[in-house]
């Protein structure tokens, strides 16, 4: 055996990069088809209004305009409402009609009203401005809690009090826990609305081949198979006549999971005009018409014993769903949120009621973390408050309440069974990396000098690797959550892996190649990983919920096992040995004890593909397909520590250090995992400090461009200090957990806690996020008064 670097666990440089650093990557908007037309959308300037008339004549007369159409036309042509793919059971969920173009009522600023198709984008947008729509404005409500009150403006006839659902999770005896508690803390938390802001705006290009009854849709999506499935429900095209291609996708963070109205608009437009039609959103449109994330009003309480033992958590949450249900809207504040209220702690009594609310705002769906940040923030904030109430160090209270290390499942009060965990291990490493005791000493000195230094600690566990399909069905998700893979050896011994997931920046084109190379003993460069085309990839449910590696890897490994099995038979045949005697190691098949007379996997691939001499009963070719339905979710965890100093004069926050220890099980590519954590921290810290959507009372988006919605810049951060512990899961054959969302989930509470720790000597107890300088300054002034 030659000593080689195992591909698994190695900083393999990404195979995606060459095209991306040279400008050769192809995003949806980069595609131009012969005769292609451009679509522009007429959007409502009102948050809530009745449409009393749409006059398209002026627009139709403009140069280069090929078609102008409305929702009524689409309906008459057999196009239905945009379906919601998740209906949470036992919650009374109502699913109001969501036409791709509003027909009689608009319900948020940006709601689509009509569409224009023209020779180019400039002309289409000129004509869109010439479409005359008469509106009769209605009363507006944008806040989820306000929407639930008597007398609030009503959005949908079938949703009384604007309530989409009421969902409850309960475990233990919450009333007894509070009755017997020594200390109780409570808070109203506003987990504010965010804009996902993938750098690539959404785009959709449809080409209908009328004679064949077929359509191809190039689409910025995280899950082309789901888009195909849902498109078959709201267009006249059946699923087998729809091909969805997701080329390079420039980030998603959840915002490219949903199937959007514009997908169906370009399909209808192509059908109508007989030409390919493309729509690409502007960033301004993205702010209005691409889903938002978070937006909870949470009334929360936690109770504990005087020794710091936490005994219960109770919450009522109003989750803002926006004006209509997006693809996964209802699952985010319920299954992905409420079930995680035990955090990484033993909390025997839990009760939460979640109200899903319609408001006159952009629809809300999954944004990086999706439900879990809203849960972890809530739990961590209350744990800090209990610690403050009992004058305990935030580290001590966490250690005291941690679920002890476990490797064979641990059931929490919400009914979930966490797979594996060692929360002490991650916290200990984070404290060591941070020099926690030294930091606390430095803080004492700073305070003595009148400086306001703060240290924030967050320990979290999250649920990802979605998930067992039986659970998906039981919780109302309208699809499965398994994955499949095809491994195909070419005659020359090169490999093609086809998967149904759809990476869009996470780097699985590389990590999957590493997994294949590692197990098949071929060079990483010999493996071509393909995804993003429903016509060429096996079925899969997409890339979100930190599931891509955790779930698809099971299918990839399964396919490779079949290849190895078949390879053994062929090798036995060629080596004239018994199949049971054939070993496979590092890309070579050989008879036990005689590794020198080996057949390489490449030789086997050639033999199988030419099929000149196959063993009895063995089919030609070397290809296998496998499906993997995980037995459980996976539960990565970690500990994050933030260090800040607040300028009490201005309220500005100086972000000094950030330490993150995350445990996602065995790491396939450390470089890529660190990159995921970096990006996650950036987004989570941004929620704490800078980002927040604001509407005015009329439902106008006040943070409507990158001029006023502050996503982080390069200068926003110090260098991140990362560490990892490794606790494998039993849920999949590689033992891997997800890493795509941990950074975001852990960092918002850590940063918030650091700022509150800094402000503690000033008497400040609460500031709503984002912690803008003005809010911090006002809190300081209020505490002084």
């Amino acid at each position: 055996m030659t000593a080689t670097i195992r591909p698994f666990g190695h900083d393999q440089k990404r195979v995606e990069d060459p095209r991306m650093i040279t400008g050769q990557a192809k995003y949806t908007d980069d595609f131009t088809l012969p005769g292609m037309l451009h679509l522009a959308v007429v959007r409502s300037p009102f948050a809530h209004a009745r449409i009393t008339g749409i006059d398209t004549t002026a627009a139709e007369a403009m140069p280069g305009v090929r078609a102008v159409f409305t929702g009524a036309q689409m309906r008459d042509a057999g196009y239905g409402g945009i379906p919601c793919a998740w209906v949470v059971p036992d919650s009374g969920t109502v699913t109001p009609e969501h036409p791709p173009l509003a027909i009689d009522t608009v319900r948020y600023v940006g709601d689509a009203v009509a569409a224009v198709v023209a020779d180019n984008d400039y002309l289409a947008r000129d004509a869109a401005m010439a479409v005359e729509v008469d509106y009769e404005p209605l009363d507006v409500v944008t806040d989820a809690h306000a929407a639930h009150q008597d007398g609030a403006p009503q959005l949908h006839a079938d949703a009384a009090n604007n309530q989409c659902f009421k969902w409850t999770v309960a475990g233990g005896d919450i009333d007894a826990a509070f009755a017997e508690a020594d200390v109780t803390v409570s808070e109203r938390i506003i987990n504010q609305r965010l804009v996902p802001m993938a750098m690539e705006p959404r785009s959709a290009l449809a080409q209908v081949i009328g004679s064949m009854g077929e359509v191809t849709l190039w689409n910025t999506t995280q899950n082309p198979h789901i888009v195909r499935f849902l498109t078959s429900l709201d267009t006249p095209f059946p699923e087998h006549k729809i091909r969805v291609i997701a080329p390079d996708v420039g980030g998603g963070f959840g915002s490219k999971i949903p199937h959007y109205p514009e997908d169906t608009m370009v399909i209808y437009a192509s059908q109508l005009t007989g030409a390919p039609v493309k729509w690409t959103e502007t960033r301004s449109e993205n702010f209005q018409a691409t889903i938002h994330g978070r937006d909870h009003v949470q009334d929360v309480e936690m109770c504990a014993k005087s020794d710091g033992t936490i005994t219960g958590i109770r919450a009522t949450v109003w989750a803002n769903l926006g004006a209509y249900l997006s693809t996964a809207s209802t699952g985010v504040p319920t299954i992905l949120h409420g079930l995680m209220l035990s955090g990484c702690y033993t909390i025997p009594n839990i009760h939460e009621d979640v109200y899903g609310m319609f408001t006159n705002t952009t629809p809300v769906d999954a944004y990086r973390g999706a439900g879990r940040p809203e849960a972890v923030f809530m739990v961590e904030r209350l744990v800090d408050k209990v610690a403050n109430a009992l004058d305990m160090d935030p580290v001590d209270i966490r250690r005291q309440n941690f679920i002890p290390p476990f490797d064979d499942g641990h059931e929490v009060a919400t009914g979930l069974i966490y797979d594996t965990g060692n929360y002490h291990g991650a916290l200990d490493l984070a404290l060591e990396k941070a020099g926690y005791e030294e930091l606390r000493r430095a803080q004492e000195e700073a305070r003595a000098e009148g400086r306001y230094m703060g240290i924030g600690v967050c320990t979290y566990v999250e649920i990802c690797g979605l998930g067992p399909s039986e659970v998906a069905g039981a919780v109302g998700f309208g699809g499965g959550l398994w994955e499949s893979a095809i491994v195909r050896f070419h005659p020359s011994g090169k490999v093609r892996l086809m998967v149904g997931v759809n990476p869009h920046g996470q780097g699985e084109q590389t990590t999957f190649a590493q997994v294949v190379a590692d197990q098949m003993g071929v060079p990483v460069g010999d493996v071509d990983v393909f995804y993003g085309d429903t016509a060429q990839t096996p079925m899969g449910w997409g890339t979100y919920g930190s599931r891509t590696t955790a779930v698809a890897a099971g299918a990839i490994v399964g396919a490779m096992e079949k290849i190895k099995e078949k390879g053994r038979k062929i090798a036995a045949h060629l080596l004239e040995a018994a199949v049971e005697d054939i070993e496979f190691d590092d890309g070579k098949f050989y008879v036990k004890g005689s590794p020198e007379a080996a057949k390489t996997i490449q030789e086997i691939a050639t033999a199988a593909n030419v099929a000149w001499s196959m063993p009895e009963g063995v089919e030609p070719g070397l290809e296998a397909s496998a499906f993997f339905n995980p037995s459980n979710f996976v539960y990565p965890f970690g500990a994050h520590i933030a260090v800040v100093e607040v300028d009490p004069e201005t309220g500005e926050i100086d972000f000094q250090r950030y330490i993150a220890v995350d445990d996602c099980g065995p790491i396939i590519n450390p470089m890529i995992v660190e990159g995921q954590v970096h990006g996650g921290i950036a987004q989570g810290v941004a929620q704490a400090l800078w980002e927040g959507v604001e509407y005015d009372d009329a439902g106008n988006l006040l943070t409507s461009s990158l001029m006023d919605y502050a996503i982080p810049k390069a200068g926003s951060f110090p260098k991140f200090e990362l560490g990892h512990t490794v606790t494998p899961t039993e849920v999949n054959p590689l033992g891997v957990k997800g890493i795509g969302e941990t950074g975001t989930i852990g960092s918002t509470p850590a940063m918030y806690s650091a700022v509150m720790d800094a402000l503690a000597p000033l008497g400040v107890e609460k500031v709503d996020m984002p912690l803008t300088p003005e809010r911090v300054w006002r809190a300081i002034e209020a505490a002084k008064a």
Binding site: T282, T650, E694, P773, W777, R778
Partner: protein
């Protein structure tokens, strides 16, 4: 979003630019376009034509006669930031320009375009007023100089008469100046800023000028702050006392989602303190 349609004319000289503007009454001059194209894309402005000043040779360059530095209108922010002449004779302007927007904006945006745009959140206006700069305006009837303090009238409004172009900015050779700004985390425009020029005389303040930007529609000279410092040592207490004049001098402060008027006034006070201290130190 896209701009509405318009005509485009490139001027080869100042005279040609003035002719083109006279011939197209709804036309607007465009310099680097870093502000104008932005408002046109959002259709907040829809001129019928643009007259491009960007390639007029006479509008480029920075020169000094020993007392006054003349910065021609099409000098980019980056050229101001990296000007050897300014580094030596009016460093505060280099420092100010070096933080406008970002690298790409500084490569295109010009001092003439910025002052003519008169954005209250821009960085140059308070600095130019504090420096006692003059704006050179050229029209078909000739040239006049307008003190910066008179030039900036209100939000996006200047003392330029119809048919006049900003052709140069003249600043006196100055040391002992500082510009401090609290920047918007998204746009990087100044939310509240202060420019201070302090001349020392035998260990005490001989002259002090303080100008606040970002809070109201134009740069506001805080005369009381300057007066409060003259003849005194620039101690922390004296500077704080001078800066405390800011609030009283500002009325009707602007506010938005990021920063209310009240907070802007507060920030301006802090920026004033820091600018005065840096200018005196």
């Amino acid at each position: 979003m896209h701009k509405a349609a318009f005509d485009y004319h490139r001027a080869g000289s100042i005279a040609e630019a003035l002719d083109l503007l006279e011939a197209n009454p709804d036309a607007r001059p465009i310099a680097g376009g870093q502000s104008l194209l932005g408002v046109m894309k959002l259709r907040l402005a829809a001129p019928s034509a643009l007259v491009d000043l960007g390639q007029i040779p006479d509008l480029a360059g920075i020169s000094s006669d020993g007392d006054t530095i003349t910065i021609m209108a099409m000098t980019t922010h980056d050229e101001v930031a990296t000007s050897d002449v300014l580094a030596a004779h009016c460093r505060v302007l280099c420092e100010t320009a070096g933080y406008i927007g970002d690298v790409q904006v500084r490569n295109r945006g010009t001092i003439g375009g910025s002052v003519a745009h008169a954005d209250p959140a821009a960085d140059y206006p308070p600095v130019l007023v504090a420096l006692g700069a003059e704006i050179v305006a050229t029209s078909k009837t000739g040239e006049r100089t307008i003190p910066a303090a008179d030039f900036f009238v209100d939000i996006f409004t200047t003392a330029l008469a119809p048919g006049e172009l900003v052709t140069a900015v003249k600043v006196p050779v100055t040391s002992g100046a500082s510009y401090q700004a609290h920047r918007h985390p998204a746009s990087s425009y100044a939310v509240a800023s202060a420019a201070a020029v302090v001349a020392m005389s035998n260990g005490s303040v001989g002259d002090a000028r303080l100008v606040v930007g970002g809070v109201t529609g134009k740069p506001e000279t805080i005369a009381a702050a300057g007066a409060a410092l003259v003849g005194k040592e620039p101690s922390e207490d004296n500077i704080a006392a001078a800066a405390s004049e800011v609030a009283g001098a500002l009325s009707n402060p602007m506010g938005d989602v990021y920063a209310s008027g009240e907070y802007r006034v507060h920030l301006a006070t802090i920026m004033a303190k820091r600018a005065l201290a840096a200018a005196a130190g």
